[in-house]
């Protein structure tokens, strides 16, 4: 017969006590009892001759600590100079890094969506679909939104801004830059045809776009420099149309590419037959980018207009690489083509994006 019940149970250390394993359970949105269950299965009990109550009390203590820390984690820079918790710097870094880490399954669901209340309402669907707890989904979503809000209005390079304000590692800061960039430009990533692409594929593309196509790529002291695409450049892209509208240029371009590729690829004939279509596809994408709507469809267009035709012709990744190199370089030899700078700025990004996206 239990004649006693615990009313109050607190354990506090001068140096804040944290268990990384329990922290992860907390981040993953486990309830205390679920976390206790998992820990018990993990065999931590046998290791130290403890009872289930001990585990329960320990887990509760830690959860409380994390809850108290959470407010500080929202502004990680505060964690370093707050007085409430004594946490050694490398532990602080761990706390922050883990708090801002996200599940790739989750981020794929919200990438390119507006970080609004509406999206947040749909998170229960996301939770159901991905199997990630709603609590964890909310934390990840709020993190995206928080980072977005802070860096949106800042001058200077996006990745650096994220690092300064959120003290994240380089890798994580880059991922957040991608998320912010996608959210700002609302790139479509959810279509069925894009499902095969991972977050890392998109993050890579975002990196390319940020460092080549944004305002910041040319002038690094303007507002929104890394979040918005360079309008002037998008305007200039219209000039590239000459490559498909001028019949001579188109033929010249094709013959140059064909000469270069003859004998070097197994899909030569398919390439030769399809050249004009492919070239039209790429250049039409460029010419339309002044429209916000078409910017959003950049990735779906790349897949539909270029990647899918090549895939149905069974191009290998090597074929693709070879083609894109020569396709880009041959344009330089065309005497009447005057827009070399714009061409390179455009094709450089398109080439690396397509290469990244060209997989099963």
């Amino acid at each position: 017969m239990e004649i006693m019940s615990v009313e109050l149970d607190v354990f506090v250390g001068n140096t804040t006590i944290m268990d990384e394993e329990v922290y992860q359970f907390w981040l993953d949105g486990y309830t205390v009892s679920d976390a206790v269950k998992v820990r018990m299965e993990g065999g931590v009990l046998e290791e130290c001759e403890a009872s289930a109550e001990v585990l329960q009390s320990d887990t509760m203590d830690q959860y409380r600590t994390f809850q108290m820390c959470e407010r500080l984690l929202h502004t990680p820079a505060k964690l370093a100079n707050q007085l409430l918790f004594q946490i050694p710097p490398h532990r602080q870094a761990m706390l922050i890094e883990r708090y801002y880490a996200f599940d790739s399954a989750f981020v794929r669901e919200v990438l390119g969506k507006k970080l609004s209340k509406g999206t947040k309402k749909d998170l229960d669907d996301v939770s159901l679909k991905t199997g990630i707890t709603l609590k964890s989904c909310r934390r990840q979503f709020d993190n995206f939104k928080r980072v977005f809000k802070v860096v949106e209005e800042l001058k200077g390079p996006l990745v650096e801004n994220i690092q300064t304000h959120f003290l994240l590692s380089d890798k994580l800061a880059r991922d957040y830059a991608a998320i912010v960039f996608f959210a700002n430009n609302r790139f479509e990533t959810g279509k069925r045809k894009l499902q095969y692409l991972s977050f890392q594929d998109f993050a890579f593309c975002a990196g390319q776009l940020i460092s080549n196509w944004t305002v910041g790529a040319v002038d690094n002291m303007v507002e929104d420099m890394d979040v918005d695409l360079d309008k002037e450049f998008l305007q200039d892209l219209k000039d590239l149309k000459i490559l498909i509208t001028d019949k001579d240029l188109l033929d010249q371009h094709k013959s140059l590419v064909c000469t270069a590729l003859r004998g070097k690829t197994k899909v030569y004939s398919e390439m030769e037959a399809n050249f004009k279509n492919l070239s039209r596809g790429l250049i039409n994408i460029a010419a339309k980018l002044t429209n916000t709507k078409d910017v959003r469809d950049l990735f779906i267009d790349l897949v539909e207009k270029f990647i899918e035709p090549c895939r149905s012709d069974r191009w290998t990744a090597a074929d693709m690489k070879l083609f894109l190199i020569h396709y880009t370089n041959s344009a330089h030899i065309l005497d009447t083509f005057k827009h070399q700078v714009t061409w390179d700025r455009y094709m450089g990004v398109i080439k690396s994006c397509i290469l990244k996206m060209y997989h099963d």
């Binding site: 004649i3 149970d9 607190v10 001068n14 203590d61």
Partner: protein, 994 residues
């Protein structure tokens, strides 16, 4: 007008949003000292205001400087309505009043509100200019230093280095004696005005009053010290008694001393000069006023002590009974004289627990006294005569107990109270001892230490020798020949409240031994309740003692150190908890086994059962011997002396309980008279008890625990320390409560707490939990109702709750492998992170083959205290915009030292009192969430104050009070916490002084 206090308000940060419309705050600051208030300008619309105020100057008496705290209030300016308070900071000016302590207080302080907790931080600069004051009728005692250390701590790790000092980095020049004082006042919480003011105002009035009272108390004690000719109080112990309606008592005890900075050798210090020598000889004969005449063989054993003077002064002392007329030579303010005065003084009590080797000549045993009193309103706070008289009575009792044991002094002395309604138990306990003043004086000499140390090791048994002899002993005692020297009598077991003396030789390791007891008592009022309690107490003492004894025997040990018996009074139960560290002293005889005997011979079933039990007991003892590595060397000339007449198991534990002034007759605690320890089992109760003895789980492998500062038998420590506070409160169900039931529940509670602790620190294994300090309270409903008197709802369930406050210093143990690499790591590292930082430097297998983490536990956090390192950490993180003002790491420990470090400066005593209240208990995560947050905040505030003084550690840290009250129906809770400790600057041993 002897002092000018100057304060400057620099900036604030992380302030809360006070204006919902703009999400900002228009903050300004009021700086108040005494009756003078200054204000800064309003810094509009910012959560990080930069006030950069002028210097606010207060011209005040130093008496006020000692009593009053500097009060800083941060407010939000409001044009149309009253300004809203954001929170307050109280700064104790005392550390600035001593020339050797801190010179400036400068740093970020958490802004604290009793309702909302910490709300942002404020950067403050405080200085004091003192004018010298030669008025001999002065009321202040500026400059008297206070230390909460209980002992002189020589570095426990470097046993080879001589010269102990009290406290470290000071040298003890003289001990003047016991000082005590108490001040009383009405509790603001119980004043009529409390019915109309807000909870915040009430809490703040209380915080301020207690701060004032403890300032006043320190000043008064300081005055006494100055009168006695001292300059410091060591072992300063301050307590609050919240007596409810009858008032608020703040009392303190300590030991007045004269401390000197080493290097400045004062003329009074004993030196090798011949002239001094003579003086000492003159004064010597008069010292041992209360030393009873030792037996005929006694002078012999003193021989080795007289190393510095060829002539054995002890011969004189042995006949000193007749030499009382000798008058000490006053003027040679040498220790001897002081000690003589001290012994003659009213109470020859010492509040510290560790002493220079040889200082303790003999240890008689524990002396304790308790008295049950009925509280009444204190009508005249300026003359708290009754409270004074109560304590006086108890101290007299202690003194007479010590005398009865043939001792002239009491060491490791402490006092405590437990209050429930109008009934109050006053307790005092200490260890009766005979001190050697000459040795103490030698201990101060820095040279020739090696030589003496050798002799001390030879004398490792002396302190165990009984100060009385067989025939004159005050009670039937069981004495044996000393197992080390074979020449003198020693008791069979020794109980003490002090730390294990450094010269003591032990076998194996020590361990925590606890006796736990819970007794129901009828609910009653006033007299009736007091009578019930005083009737209960002797039985509780007896039972606790029996438990301790049994557990000690089961562990095959023969001595207890650091014994602390706590009796807590509740509405309908009394809880007793005795904790001590058991060891095997080589000098004492090996404990016989434990034998159990049935009451009814012939009952075969029972005999069978008993023999099973006996086997189990024998196995346990054997197992414990192995576990604690107890294998004492057999003494060659084994007790060859004559058999001791009338051997009796009678511990050196004196007790007495008195109600008002009526003495309860002494209990005869004598057990059987056979050689082995016999337990009689006559009913199921006893069987149950036996079971609980045997099921007392030992610590998991790799863990050691003790309640003393240093674990006996372990000598290699790393400097990784961690301090924990744990509070648990249990509610007893409404079920029919029996003594046995609650007893078992309480026992399980303590065991669970320990288990929980082991689990928490599992990553630090091998480690030692030192200074485990349990304190039990039985909060009563009445109190809760009184507190929440604004509400009419009575407290719901008529049950009692336990709450256990529990503080432990955690020490990791490790063995240093020479040059094991990585010692020069500058990174901030804490022990508890080891789980995540698998051994980067080579690991080293400790003796027992347990996971060794010693080498990777480096201690460098302290170094942030040095400017050089702070700069480095700044530059490392300079990529981040906010990191320019990194927070100083402040270590906290209940120990009086941190292994492998050196104290280079004592900055002053930290004594803080906080109240936190909430009326949104559920929203704050229930009672646990509320208290968790509050304790975290208290830690933060202590650290901030220490850092502002320039310190990097708090030693002898204690949470002396943690009173928790709740009313879940009203969603309310309130908690009071009192903490204390010594703020210090530490450096690693390897570093030079700055």
């Amino acid at each position: 007008m002897p002092g000018k206090l100057k304060a400057k308000i620099l900036a604030g940060r992380h302030l809360p949003v006070m204006d919902r419309a703009s999400d900002l705050t228009d903050a300004f600051v009021e700086v108040k000292f005494g009756n003078t208030t200054f204000k800064t300008d309003v810094f509009p619309k910012s959560l990080n205001p930069q006030w950069n105020s002028e210097w606010f100057k207060f011209e005040v008496d130093d008496e006020d400087l000692q009593d009053e705290p500097l009060q800083i209030t941060v407010l939000d300016h409001d044009t149309y309505s009253a300004n809203d308070a954001i929170g307050k900071v109280y700064i104790d000016i005392d550390p600035l009043l001593s020339t050797e302590a801190a010179t400036v207080i400068s740093g970020w302080f958490p802004i604290y509100d009793t309702i909302h907790g910490i709300r942002g931080e404020i950067s403050v600069l405080v200085k004091v200019e003192l004018f010298s004051d030669s008025n001999r009728f002065r009321q202040s005692s500026c400059g008297v230093k206070f230390f909460s250390v209980f002992c002189n701590t020589r570095d426990a790790l470097h046993l080879s280095c001589p010269a102990p000092s009290i406290p470290r980095c000071y040298r003890l020049a003289a001990v003047h004696g016991f000082v005590e004082e108490l001040v009383v006042n009405e509790d603001p919480e119980h004043q009529w005005i409390d019915r109309i003011r807000t909870p915040r105002a009430s809490n703040e009035a209380r915080q301020r009053l207690i701060s004032l009272m403890s300032g006043e108390l320190q000043r008064k004690i300081g005055l006494k010290v100055l009168e006695m000719g001292g300059n410091a109080v060591v072992g300063y112990l301050q307590c609050f008694d919240l007596e409810g309606e009858s008032g608020l008592v703040v009392r303190a005890i300590g030991t007045a001393c004269t401390l000197e900075k080493p290097g400045s050798l004062p003329p009074s210090a004993p030196s090798a000069s011949p002239s001094m020598e003579t003086k000492e000889c003159v004064s010597r004969p008069s010292y041992p006023v209360t030393v009873p005449s030792p037996g005929p063989s006694a002078p012999l054993k003193y021989q080795p002590f007289s190393s510095s003077s060829p002539k054995s002064c002890r011969h004189q002392s042995s006949c000193s009974d007749t030499d009382l007329s000798f008058v000490p030579k006053i003027g040679t303010s040498s220790l001897i004289c002081n000690l003589t005065k001290l012994m003659k003084g009213e109470f020859p009590f010492f509040t510290f627990t560790r002493f220079p080797p040889g200082f303790l000549l003999h240890v008689g045993g524990v002396v304790s006294a308790r008295s049950v009193k009925l509280l009444d309103r204190i009508y005249n706070p300026d003359e708290p005569e009754t409270r004074d008289a109560w304590w006086e009575e108890i101290r007299q009792e202690i003194k007479s107990h010590a005398k009865a044991l043939g001792c002239h002094a009491v060491v490791g002395y402490s006092e405590s109270t437990s209050i429930c309604d109008e009934v109050c138990i006053l307790s005092a306990a200490g260890t009766a001892a005979v001190l050697d003043p000459t040795l103490m004086q030698e201990g101060c000499l820095d040279d020739g230490g090696e030589h003496r140390l050798d002799e001390h090791s030879f004398l490792s048994c002396v302190f165990c020798h009984v100060p009385y002899d067989d025939f004159n002993s005050p009670f039937p005692a069981h004495l044996a020949q000393c197992c080390t020297c074979g020449r003198h009598k020693v008791p069979d077991v020794l109980f003490t409240t002090i730390e294990l003396p450094r010269e003591a030789k032990v076998s194996g390791k020590g361990c925590l031994i606890q006796a736990r007891l819970c007794r129901l008592k009828k609910k009653a009022q006033g007299e009736a309740s007091a009578t019930a309690v005083s009737n209960l107490l002797p039985f509780m003492e007896y039972e606790l003692h029996t438990q301790l004894m049994n557990k000690l025997k089961l562990r095959a040990m023969n001595a207890l150190f650091g014994l602390r018996v706590q009796i807590s009074l509740g509405e309908n139960m009394v809880v007793g908890l005795a904790s001590a560290t058991g060891v095997y002293l080589n000098a004492l005889p090996s404990p016989g086994g434990v034998q159990i005997a049935g009451k009814t011979p012939g009952d075969t079933a029972q005999e069978q059962h008993i023999s099973n039990m006996q086997r189990k007991i024998n196995d346990t003892i054997a197992g414990n011997k192995e576990l604690y590595e107890i294998n004492p060397l057999e003494v060659a000339e084994d007790v060859s002396g004559s058999p001791i007449p009338e051997p009796q198991r009678r511990p050196r534990l004196f007790r007495s309980v008195s109600e008002s002034s009526t003495e309860v007759p002494e209990l005869d605690l004598a057990y059987g008279r056979k050689d082995a320890f016999v337990l009689e089992i006559d009913d199921t109760d006893a069987l149950e008890d036996m079971h609980s003895l045997l099921t007392d789980a030992p610590a998991p492998s790799g863990f050691y625990s003790c309640n003393t500062e240093v674990m006996p038998g372990i000598y290699s420590w790393t400097s990784a320390v961690q301090m924990f506070t744990s509070v648990r409160m249990f509610r007893l169900g409404n079920a029919n409560l029996t003594n046995q039931g609650v007893n078992k529940a309480f026992n399980d509670l303590c065991e669970d707490l320990l288990k929980s602790l082991y689990f928490k620190v599992r990553s630090m294994v091998p480690c030692c939990l030192c200074h485990l300090n349990f304190s039990v309270a039985v909060p009563e409903e009445e109190l809760v109702q009184v507190h929440l008197q604004r509400s009419i709802t009575p407290f719901p369930s008529p049950t009692d709750t336990f709450s256990i406050l529990f503080i432990a210093g955690l020490h990791s143990i490790g063995r240093k492998s020479g040059g094991g690499g990585g010692e020069n790591d500058e990174q901030l590292q804490f022990a508890l992170e080891l789980s995540t930082e698998p051994a980067s430097p080579p690991t080293f297998s400790s003796r027992k083959g347990t996971r060794a983490t010693s080498d990777i536990q480096r201690f460098s956090s302290l170094e942030t205290g040095s400017p050089l390192l702070r700069d480095r950490s700044r530059s490392v993180r300079s990529t981040h915009s906010y990191s320019s003002n990194a927070v100083t790491v402040v270590k906290m420990t209940p120990l009086s030292f941190i292994p492998n470090t050196r104290i280079i400066k004592y900055l002053g005593i930290i004594n803080m009192f906080f109240i936190r209240e909430t009326s949104s208990l559920r929203e704050e995560g229930g009672v646990s969430g509320f208290l968790h947050g509050f304790i975290t905040e208290v830690f933060a505030m202590v650290r901030a104050h220490v850092a502002a003084l320039g310190g990097n550690a708090v030693l002898s840290y204690q949470m002396k009070e943690c009173v928790f009250m709740e009313n879940p129906n009203k969603n309310q809770a309130q908690c009071l916490i009192n903490v204390s400790g010594d703020a210090v600057i530490l450096v690693r041993h390897t570093e030079p002084d700055p």
